[in-house]
Amino acid sequence: MKRVSRNHGFTLVELLVVIAIIGILVGLLLPAVQAAREAARRMSCGNNMKQAGLAIHNFESTYKYIHGSERDIPLAEQPTPSNPYGQTATFGTLFHLLPYIEQGTIYDMFDKKRSYVDPVNMPPAYGTINKTAQSPISAYICPSTPGDPPSDYGPYFQANGLPLGSIVLPRTDYIPLKGIHSSLASCAAMTTGSTKNGMLGVTNTVTGWKIKFAEVTDGLSNTICLAELAGKQNTYFRGKKTLGVGFTTVPTFAGFGLQLNSFYGDHNTARQIRGYSGANLNNIIEAGCSSINIINESGLYSFHPGGAQVVMGDGSVTFISQTTSSVVLASQITRNGGETTTTE
């Protein structure tokens, strides 16, 4: 048989089949490329959290305690002149980790004996601190979080009767855990109500802000220390930005025209983790038993598919699936609950 392959072209059907196969392969590949990019961002995000976890241990090596999430310095004990607006709440855990993530220069610019909303610690026009003190800390930002505007404290200050104007402070996507909220406690069949016995929770904010590792009786590797609560400069409800939409029955920060406080030094970033129903956009804090990736208010919230990352007390970073039961999650948050569960 004589071959005529040199003159043999492709038929239309063969071409169509090849194009169809290529189309299917590209269709399979493109989502995979996107997923790989997200996986890389998640890894970078987890690495940031690991740095914070190591910083906590280095801090503990120096001081033999960890700095709790909340602390109040009474006005009388502040240097003169004390805060003319009367706030006493001072910097939280993440701020005190700055020297341990090589940001000591920024740490030194603030007056730690005063509130973080004292004019001495605030940028112009409201305060007097050098603007470079408000540089973003990249280690506290998760790359998976959409690049939205930074945290503006102007409306919050206005709501508290303070001077007007935009006050932009560097945000964090990671939060210290204060405890569990009563809504999550009831999902876990705990009869405690809301607690402040998270790893960084403080009951007496004036005298009790030093937490010793020995107080974490559930074990450092069984207790969540920091968690992702990302994108707080906007309200996200189940992955969608919902600022200004549909808040009718219950006022929310968006309904008040506010953003959730997200300055890394702000003690309000520490949360009692709630259980949400996740079903009602008109009442985003409606009680239920879902805590992960529902809303970035007082739950765990990340932009990773399937769950959120946490730093355990021993400094390790773990991914917690959003199907984790409330019982397991709540027992991982409490530092002295006496439970025996693990997230595995």
Binding site: I24, S186, C187, P251, I285, A287, C289, S290, Q322
Partner: protein
């Protein structure tokens, strides 16, 4: 002849690919979507928070739902609608709807729901007497009757 055979081979390959891609979709995870009604002193009531605790799995996922104005509720497990089959201990609380959060409470995450109008009678898994079994055929649950007094 030659061409037809290669077309047949390519065609079956294509068919196989289409079949595989259509089969890799995800299943529903075995959750049953159920609907129920909650009545307080005989009247359908909105705002009642129901929690379904798996009776035989103390670490299992707690399903939850809140009734609407007609007293109707559906259950959610984690992010998914529905509830797994099995026996459940049900708790119910009816937080006073008059208690609303303030701006400061929202900012600090410290808002606590109002006092339970059922006086805590059904609020604890340890003491609740309401038990419901969910089977794969469950659709509409029998009304859950609660009393204030």
């Amino acid at each position: 002849m030659n061409m037809r055979r290669s077309l047949g081979r390519n065609g079956s390959l294509l068919g196989l690919l289409v079949l595989i891609t259509s089969l890799t979709g995800c299943g529903s995870g075995g959750l049953v979507v159920v609907e129920g009604t909650v009545k307080v002193d005989g009247a359908p009531t909105g705002g009642v928070v129901l929690m379904f605790f798996p009776k035989n799995d103390p670490n299992g996922v707690t399903a939850a739902g809140t009734s609407d104005d007609q007293g109707k509720f559906t259950l959610t497990s984690g992010l998914d609608s529905g509830v797994a089959t099995g026996k459940y201990i049900v708790t119910a609380t009816y937080p006073d709807p008059a208690v609303k959060p303030t701006a400061a409470q929202m900012m600090q995450g410290t808002f606590e729901p109002g006092p339970d109008l059922l006086k805590g009678k059904y609020s604890k898994k340890q003491t609740s007497t309401v038990e419901i079994e969910i089977t794969s055929g469950s659709k509409e649950l029998a009304p859950i009757e609660l009393k204030k007094g």
